[in-house]
Symmetry: C2
Subunit: 367 residues, 2 copies
């Protein structure tokens, strides 16, 4: 969720956001938390994003992911780019999901800046199949000019596909096949922490399949920016030179790293509660009239809710908003909206939330 909205919305500490990865961030919240953190811990200085609090975050994240090391990047766009670039070279072709962030939302950065051709697979689906992969790998070495694939990328969960996940068994089959062929693999796991808490597949079990994994520091961990790219010690060593070449070695990044570490702790100690509570909430919500809650079989924390045609979604949104419950109806089709579950669901009791929804449905449904 963009922070501009934080300025526009009249939000309070009781606001529940049923869209976006978390509450809209606000500078005041960052400052309040920083002050609190600095009162109990020394926030150690980094130097050009090396050491200090940044180093602590890198160690903590490597440990969580069961990787030997990790490197801090200012953005996920850059973390993904550098992972693909470094794993791929000297080859110049990479396979990516067509609906991935790196293919759709990064301005063709890997192609433009690193000259690596991204071959998209999976069409409008959240992920491609092993058969599609085999076909593409075969095509890359059977044409008039042989151009082997240097890296295979998976994104999971997929933001553009309502947080749907490549099932673990598919991931295992695909990465296993790549390993047999000696082709390295990268996971864009920006939102992997929430996904793992829902699928109950441990983080390390996911990340173990891949050579490198990227995790976002600002979606769930409440940092203003930042990304972690984890991999082998050999891969991560000296990677700061590449980061610097891209203009990604901030002179001082400790503040964001410190907020990420704090947010990581907050997330971990609350995520089970969030998932349990939201499951109960969604089950109860489904019993209200005029709506049907469904689940994607391969979904994570984004849930489609179809309202009957008599419900005016704009009225529904306004009524919920008056009670500080925020939904997003802008992308609705067929009177279906998507509810995204995040930590803010803990800010109101399920009883309270259900009462608010019940009332909002009443005032927005035609009789």
């Amino acid at each position: 969720m963009s922070s501009n909205q934080a300025d526009k919305l009249k939000i309070s500490e009781g606001s529940v956001f049923l869209y976006g990865d978390d509450a809209p961030y606000s500078n005041n919240e960052f400052i309040t938390r920083l002050k609190k953190i600095s009162e109990s811990n020394e926030i150690a200085n980094d130097s050009y994003s090396i050491g200090g609090e940044v180093g602590k975050l890198e160690s903590a994240m490597a440990k969580r992911l069961g990787k030997e090391a990790s490197v801090f990047f200012p953005t996920g766009t850059l973390a993904n780019h550098v992972a693909i670039r470094q794993l791929c070279l000297p080859q110049k072709r990479a396979i990516v999901p067509e609906q991935s962030h790196i293919y759709q939302d990064s301005g063709d950065s890997v192609q433009q800046l690193s000259g690596v051709n991204l071959v998209p697979l999976g069409s409008t689906n959240p992920y491609f199949s092993l058969d599609e992969l085999k076909e593409s790998l075969n095509a890359s070495i059977s044409g008039r000019v042989v151009n082997p694939v240097g890296v295979v990328v998976i994104e999971s969960p997929v933001r553009r596909c309502y947080g749907r996940l490549m099932p673990y068994e598919d991931m295992k089959a695909i990465t296993g096949y790549c390993r047999e062929l000696g082709i390295p693999t990268h996971l864009d796991g920006a939102r992997l922490f929430i996904a793992s808490s829902i699928t109950q597949v441990p983080l390390q079990k996911y990340s173990h399949l891949f050579d490198t994994v990227y995790i976002s520091m600002w979606k769930y961990f409440r940092a203003p920016y930042g990304a972690i790219l984890a991999g082998s010690k050999e891969f991560c060593e000296n990677l700061f030179h590449i980061r610097r070449m891209f203009g990604g070695s901030l002179p001082s990044a400790s503040i964001s790293a410190s907020l990420a570490l704090d947010g990581l702790e907050l997330f971990e100690s609350n995520v089970k509660m969030e998932v349990d509570k939201s499951n109960a909430f969604l089950d109860a919500l489904n019993k209200l009239p005029h709506l049907e809650v469904s689940r994607y079989p391969d979904g994570s924390n984004i849930v489609p809710v179809k309202f009957s045609s008599t419900v005016d979604l704009q009225k529904l949104e306004d009524s919920l908003r008056a009670e500080e419950v925020f939904i997003n109806t802008k992308t609705s089709t067929n009177n279906t909206i998507h509810l995204t579950i995040n930590l803010t669901i803990l800010r109101k009791s399920n009883d309270e939330l259900l009462k608010i929804f019940s009332n909002a449905i009443k005032v927005s449904a035609e009789n």
Copy 2:
């Protein structure tokens, strides 16, 4: 100065740093200032480094530089890169000073990522001459393959050459010649604010010569990171797409922008005092025995001081350090050190500083 040093040095608010652009930054100082700023001003949220406090900083800096607009970048490395890339294209050759940051310290980023060939001029000098430029421009269009120059870059002051500056008249001649030929120009003016206060050539008079100018936000303005790239409205419009492609659009950058705005004000209200005071200090220092203060004719705030061979520089450094005055003897040659003047010189009176130096010379000079 790297922040690691801030952890190692026992520094106080009275510490004077006669090297580096400012006191070593510390997270605690950032947090204290942020809290103070947020008490009197609302720190408006940006969204992916657009608007909010970032927008305010962009407007303030464009105004100071007399440019129509400016764009925030996380680092100077990226600001320089994007300036060269955008001004140069579709040409693929740029002229840069051989001693410049973009040529020496950026991992060949422009060459590697944007495919632009940087032709270095000026050898070990801080700047190249108009004649050298003419020769190089001529060579670029008289070879077997014509490859015209797309942009000419000047850095001033030059960090690698003790802050020496290309004299204004030379700058005017060179940029004027480029303009005649229709070749755009970019100024790496990371440290232009301090330079202008010393040469007394107004900022706008410098920046008026160039199509684009980059200024660092963390060297003098006490932000943890950040750079401003100023230019025409047309140049800056939509530049955020390129910034994002490079992974340089931080989700939230208001905190750094806010610190930069605060630091800009602090710098501007103190720089005259700093320059006057340091001139008086250096004149008085020159009267002490066993040393000679000289000035580069084209210098800025970095001043060579040659000590007689009887002075043990390590003893000198230790003695000064005991009184919280810090110098850097690591790069000394011929018993000459360089003193860099920055705002921390205001933390002790000249009398006090001279007494400390006088004593340090006594204890470090053999009799």
